[in-house]
C-alpha cells in the first residue's frame, strides 16, 4: 500500500506543476514569439526583457508549413510575432492571417536595407519586417581548384570532376541551371525548365555529393572542393577556414528572406512592435546577425558588425549583381522541377 501512496503523492505533485506551468502565460506583459529555435542570441532576448519589462515566451516550429497550420487553427491568434520564410508569408497574408503594420510605432524602421523590401510576398511592405536573408553564393577552396570560379557556369568545367557538393534543394539547384541559361528562377516556360534539366545531367559527373546537413564539413575536410550551400553553412565554413573563397555568381543571385509579421489576432501586438523596434536597433541587430550568420537586413547595423563575420553577412560595396527571389510556382511547374531533380540525382548516382 505504501507504494500506492507514493504514486499518489507523485501524481499530485505533477498535477500542481502543470497547474503552475499553465498559469505563467497569457498575461499582458508577455511576448509570444513564434519562430525556429536559435534565431536570437540569449543576450538579445534577455536584453529586451530588461529594457521593456516584458517576458519573452519563445515558442518553436519545425517548418513554415507547420507554423501556417498552427496559425490557421488559432485563427491568427495566440502568437504575437512570427518570423518565417518569404513564401509562407505570401500564403499567410493571402489567407488574412497577418495584420498591417503601423510603421509609426517602429522608430528604427528606417534602418532596414531597402534591397530586401518590396519583395513578392509583401510588395508594399504592409505586413513585414525582414530579419535575415539567405543569399545563394558559391564557396570553394582555391588551393584545391585550378580555375578561377566566377559563376555557376564554371561548375561545369571538366577540371572539377567529382569535386562539387550541392544541397538537396531542387528549386535552388535547378535554378542554378536556369540561371546559366539566362532564365528566371520562376519561369513557367516548361520547355526552358526541360532544357535546364538536360544541362544538369551534364553536370552530374562533377557532383561528388548531394546533401543538406553539415555539407560545410565536407568542404572543410577536403571531401569536396566547391560547394553550393545554405548561407549559414557558408558562414560556418568561412569561419573555420578563412582561406575559402566566396563567390557571388555573375549569372545572378537567388535569395530568400526571413521576415517577421504580426498575426491578425495577436493577443499582444504592442509587445510585438516593441520587439521589432528593439531588433531593428543598429547595435542590437549587429549582435543578432553576428550570431545568426544570415545576411544582414538591417543596413544601419553594418558598421557595428564584427570584422570577422562582416564579409559574409553583408553584401559587398557597390553590389549590383541582379538578384531574384525563388517564388511559389504552380503545381504543374513544381512537378516538372521535381522530375528533373530526380533525374539529376539518379544521374549523380545519389
Amino acid at each position: 500500500m505504501k507504494k500506492m501512496k507514493w504514486l499518489a503523492a507523485a501524481l499530485v505533485l505533477v498535477l500542481c506543476m502543470t497547474g503552475l506551468a499553465g498559469c505563467s502565460s497569457g498575461s499582458s506583459n508577455t511576448l509570444t514569439l513564434y519562430t525556429w529555435e536559435g534565431m536570437f542570441p540569449d543576450e538579445v532576448l534577455s536584453g529586451f526583457e530588461e529594457a521593456t519589462g516584458l517576458k519573452v515566451n519563445y515558442v518553436n516550429f519545425d517548418s513554415g508549413e507547420t507554423m501556417l497550420s498552427k496559425l490557421q487553427a488559432a485563427k491568427g491568434g495566440d502568437y504575437d510575432l512570427a518570423i518565417v520564410d518569404d513564401y509562407i508569408i505570401e500564403t499567410a497574408v493571402n489567407e488574412g492571417l497577418a495584420q498591417k503594420l503601423d510603421t509609426s510605432k517602429l522608430s528604427n524602421y528606417g534602418n532596414i536595407n531597402s534591397i530586401y523590401q518590396g519583395q513578392f510576398y509583401d510588395p508594399n511592405d504592409d505586413y513585414t519586417v525582414p530579419y535575415g536573408a539567405g543569399v545563394m553564393t558559391l564557396i570553394y577552396d582555391p588551393s584545391a581548384v585550378d580555375i578561377d570560379i566566377k559563376g555557376y557556369s564554371d561548375l561545369w568545367d571538366e577540371s572539377l570532376r567529382d569535386k562539387v557538393g550541392v544541397i538537396a534543394n531542387p528549386r535552388v539547384i535547378n535554378g542554378m541551371a536556369l540561371k546559366v541559361l539566362g532564365e528566371s528562377y520562376n519561369t513557367e516556360d516548361t520547355e526552358v525548365i526541360e532544357r535546364a534539366g538536360g544541362l544538369l545531367i551534364d553536370l552530374a559527373p562533377n557532383i561528388r555529393l548531394i546533401k543538406d546537413d553539415n555539407i560545410q564539413v565536407d568542404l572543410l575536410s577536403g571531401e569536396i572542393s566547391v560547394g553550393v550551400m545554405y548561407t549559414n553553412q557558408v558562414a560556418l565554413a568561412k569561419l573555420e577556414n578563412p582561406d575559402l573563397e566566396i563567390v557571388f555568381p555573375q549569372e545572378g543571385i537567388g535569395f530568400g528572406i526571413m521576415a517577421g509579421f504580426i498575426p491578425s489576432n495577436a493577443p499582444n501586438a504592442d509587445a510585438a512592435y516593441q520587439f521589432l523596434d528593439y531588433i531593428l536597433d543598429a547595435e542590437v541587430a549587429a549582435r543578432c546577425f553576428e550570431w545568426l550568420c544570415y545576411y544582414c537586413t538591417t543596413e544601419a547595423a553594418e558598421p557595428y558588425i564584427d570584422e570577422s563575420v562582416k564579409g559574409f553577412v553583408t553584401l559587398p560595396e557597390g553590389f549590383n549583381v541582379n538578384m531574384e527571389m525563388i517564388q511559389n510556382v504552380g503545381t504543374d511547374i513544381e512537378e516538372i522541377h521535381t522530375r528533373i531533380w530526380d533525374e539529376f540525382r539518379a544521374a549523380c548516382g545519389q
Partner: protein
C-alpha cells in the same frame, strides 16, 4: 560451465560501437570551443555556461518530463483496463477492436499530428498542456495495451478463479491477484510510453500551444540555424542523469534482494490468503 561461443562478446561489441560510440562523441563535442557540433576547435566549458544561463531550455525539459510522466500514467490506466477487458470478452469483433487500438502506432506520426490539430480545433480546445496530454496518451496506450495483453495470455486463469472461490469479489480479485501478476508488464509498458512521449516531436509540434514548449521541439527546430554544442551539453547531462538513475535502481534492487528476498506473485498469494481472511 565456460561459455564456449564468442557470440555474447560480438553482440556487446556491436552494441558498444553502434550505440555508445556516437553518444561518446556527442559528449566529447559538448566541450568544443567553437560553434560547430562536428568540428573540434579546442576545449572549453562555455556551452555549459550558456546552457545554465538559458532558463527556457530547463522550462522545456520540465514540460517534457511532466508530460511524459502524466501521459504514461494515463496510458497505463487506460491500456490496462483495455487489455483486461479484452481478455474477458469473446466477441467476434475482438480482433477488430484489438487492431483498432494498436492503430496509432501504425499511422505515420505526421498524419496523426494533423488529425489531432484539426480535431482539437474543431472541439475548440485551447492548445497547450491539455491537448499535448491527450495526444500523447492516445499514442502511448497501445504500448501498455500490447505488453499487458501478452502478459495476460500467459496467465493461468485458475489464480483468479481460486480467489473468487474463496469469496473475493471482482474488484478484490483484480487488486490482489491480477494486478500484482501483470504489474511488470504495466511498468515496462509505462517505461516504453515514457520514452516515446519524451522524444516525440512530430505530433507535439502540431498540438502544442503558444505557452508550452517541449524539449524535443526546442532541439529539433534548431535545424534552420544549426545545432550548437549547447545541445550536446544538455544531452551529456541528461545521459549522465539517466545513467545515474539506472545504476541507482540497480543498486537499490540488489541491496533489497540481499536483505529480504521479495516474494514473487505466487507466494504473495499464500500470504494474502493467510492475512486477508
Amino acid at each position: 560451465m565456460k561459455n564456449r561461443t564468442h557470440f555474447p562478446h560480438i553482440y556487446l561489441g556491436v552494441i558498444m560501437v553502434f550505440m555508445y560510440l556516437p553518444i561518446l562523441f556527442v559528449m566529447i563535442y559538448s566541450f568544443n570551443g567553437g560553434r560547430s557540433a562536428v568540428l573540434w576547435t579546442g576545449f572549453s566549458l562555455d556551452w555549459y555556461r550558456e546552457l545554465f544561463r538559458d532558463s527556457s531550455i530547463f522550462d522545456a525539459l520540465i514540460n517534457s518530463v511532466v508530460l511524459a510522466t502524466l501521459s504514461s500514467l494515463c496510458a497505463a490506466v487506460i491500456g490496462t483496463l483495455g487489455a483486461v477487458g479484452l481478455s474477458r470478452v469473446s466477441l467476434r469483433s475482438k480482433g477488430v477492436v484489438e487492431y483498432l487500438s494498436t492503430l496509432p502506432i501504425m499511422i505515420p506520426e505526421i498524419i496523426l499530428g494533423m488529425i489531432f490539430l484539426v480535431f482539437f480545433s474543431l472541439l475548440g480546445l485551447p492548445f497547450g498542456m491539455t491537448t499535448l496530454l491527450i495526444a500523447h496518451t492516445a499514442f502511448c496506450i497501445p504500448y501498455v495495451l500490447m505488453q499487458v495483453k501478452a502478459r495476460l495470455v500467459g496467465l493461468d486463469k485458475s489464480y483468479v478463479e481460486a480467489a473468487k472461490d474463496l469469496g473475493a469479489g471482482e474488484l478484490r480479485a483484480f487488486v490482489d491477484i491480477t494486478f500484482p501478476l501483470i504489474r511488470p508488464a504495466i511498468v515496462s509498458g509505462m517505461l516504453l510510453s515514457f520514452a516515446m512521449s519524451l522524444d516525440d516531436v512530430i505530433i507535439s509540434v502540431f498540438v502544442t500551444g503558444s505557452n508550452v514548449n517541449t524539449l524535443p521541439i526546442k532541439i529539433y527546430t534548431q535545424i534552420k540555424t544549426g545545432v550548437t554544442p549547447k545541445t550536446n551539453a544538455l544531452c551529456t547531462l541528461m545521459f549522465l542523469a539517466t545513467l545515474f538513475l539506472g545504476l541507482l535502481s540497480m543498486f537499490i534492487g540488489r541491496s533489497r534482494k540481499g536483505s529480504n528476498k521479495q516474494p514473487d506473485a505466487t507466494t504473495n498469494l499464500n500470504i494474502n490468503e493467510e492475512t486477508g481472511g
